[in-house]
Symmetry: C2
Subunit: 131 residues, 2 copies
Amino acid sequence: MKNYSRQREEVLEELKGTYDHPTAEEIYKRVKLKDEMISRSTVYRNLNELVENKIVKRFSSSNSNDRYDYIDEVHNHAVCLKCGKIFDFKYRFNFNRIKETVEEQTGVIIENEGIVFEGICKDCMNEQNNK
Amino acid sequence: MKNYSRQREEVLEELKGTYDHPTAEEIYKRVKLKDEMISRSTVYRNLNELVENKIVKRFSSSNSNDRYDYIDEVHNHAVCLKCGKIFDFKYRFNFNRIKETVEEQTGVIIENEGIVFEGICKDCMNEQNNK
DNA sequence: CATAAAACTAGGAATTGTTATTATTTTATA
DNA sequence: TATAAAATAATAACAATTCCTAGTTTTATG
């Protein structure tokens, strides 16, 4: 992946400028405001390439579409299993020890942003209690 | 959710009897071997209900379909970001402290099986190196 | 600067996992 | 055993994403 595509820059810039972990469709709509001609498949293709090259992280959940986050400084993510929203936070792990254990037992090689916490967010918790 | 449905029992039994974290389609095919008449949507509906009732855990990833695991004894999961496969392992966390931190900073309430490790598995790592 | 090769794009068609719908069957219970 | 609630089978519908084709832009090289 080289870097000369204007469209790819637009997609990446959109992700750099926001902290709300948008979906592909949201990114498409936002980029389209500045670049009327860009197509949906271009956004999808470039998101895939950015993820492939570890410039962007993708989150999947079954109750929301995939969401994306530009990888800048190290932080962890908590994902709501109900609505799929992503929340940033910081925690100092003994990352090397965890990495070793996971690798020994499973063969899976993880990186810093590879520890994901899944649960239920406040909003969804309240909604659950109110019915 | 009451418990009298033969079809739901078949789906759950299938998950109890395996440790390979199958997809909905795989579960459907396996159950269908024993119960020729069961329909795809019945499998999907029952999986949703089992997840909803915390009897089964669902994993989402963008390079594979959702996968399912019967929740029995506590263990952690490592997910391959390339192929979506799930690997079991055990690690003693200071779970309460992590739970507190996540909750304070994000409002997300996690449970034991809510810590997921994402990385690249051996097979995918080799594949990557061989091209 | 000319030009050929490589990489990328737009736009829509096609695919695919999942859910919704509807008519039917099963279950609980009085 | 009558009846209402819940679950089912089968298929249609849906929505997110990828694929495909032709055309455009960029890059590399002489």
